[in-house]
Subunit: 114 residues, 2 copies
DNA sequence: CCCTCATATGTCGGATTCCGTTATATCATG
DNA sequence: CATGATATAACGGAATCCGACATATGAGGG
């Protein structure tokens, strides 16, 4: 699984945030946009173009899948597959190591930057 | 500064890794490629196309600048500007919050993924 | 019933970015 | 001065980004 997941890394920001939004619960597209805006406190917003391009690709890659429709017939709910969960987990682990490195370098040498 | 830096976020993976490589010390392009490969233990490699496209853009944005050439006349050394250091710092802070959220959701509910 | 507005998905097309291939120049060695 | 490794850069097709626009459905009021 980790081998499979590794092929998808690194994730671009849009993909990372979509997977993150879906990690908590299954959501439909419009709700994904809202959840990403909420998580970033409004500083990062995905437009529909970027969102649906990405969902289309992720469906094809088997990273997310569509859940059976219930209630509101407009909504298409998406959920992470096992692969998708593995990809997100692997990316988070990778980013932790990136952050670790960054902190070493950002404080070493130049305190006040400039 | 942070306001300025915020305009550049989120960083795509190539940009993040270039800035990270330069956070430690000034490097020339070829060395940036090697440093990124080293930091990721070979799992993420930037080709020259992606690297120089990005450096060109970052120079234009004032995120990195060229240092005076010394020694080997082929090499062009790059360094982070104050803005560049601020951008990297802001992105790292943002990613920490992303990781925090992700960990909540990834362990909640589904322990073993699958 | 309609009419209207918010919700929700999807399309479209230009701009940007990605990224491997190829070209060119310089260094180090013998 | 020949050779091979290092280093930068140009090139061009593919992929992605992303706002604007189009369409369809739901909720609620009159």
């Amino acid at each position: 699984m980790r081998d499979q997941a590794a092929k998808f890394l690194p994730l671009n920001p849009a993909t990372l945030h979509i997977l993150l939004a879906l990690a908590g619960e299954d959501l439909h597209g419009y709700a994904i946009m809202q959840e990403i805006a909420r998580q970033s406190e409004g500083s990062y917003r995905l437009g529909p173009g970027t969102l649906y391009d990405n969902l289309q690709r992720l469906l094809g890659q088997g990273v997310v899948q569509e859940r059976g429709r219930t209630g509101d017939s407009r909504r298409r709910y998406y959920r992470l597959t096992a692969l998708g969960r593995g990809v997100l987990t692997a990316e988070i682990a990778r980013l932790e190591s990136v952050i670790h490195d960054a902190k070493l370098h950002l404080q070493a040498g130049r305190p006040g930057n400039a």
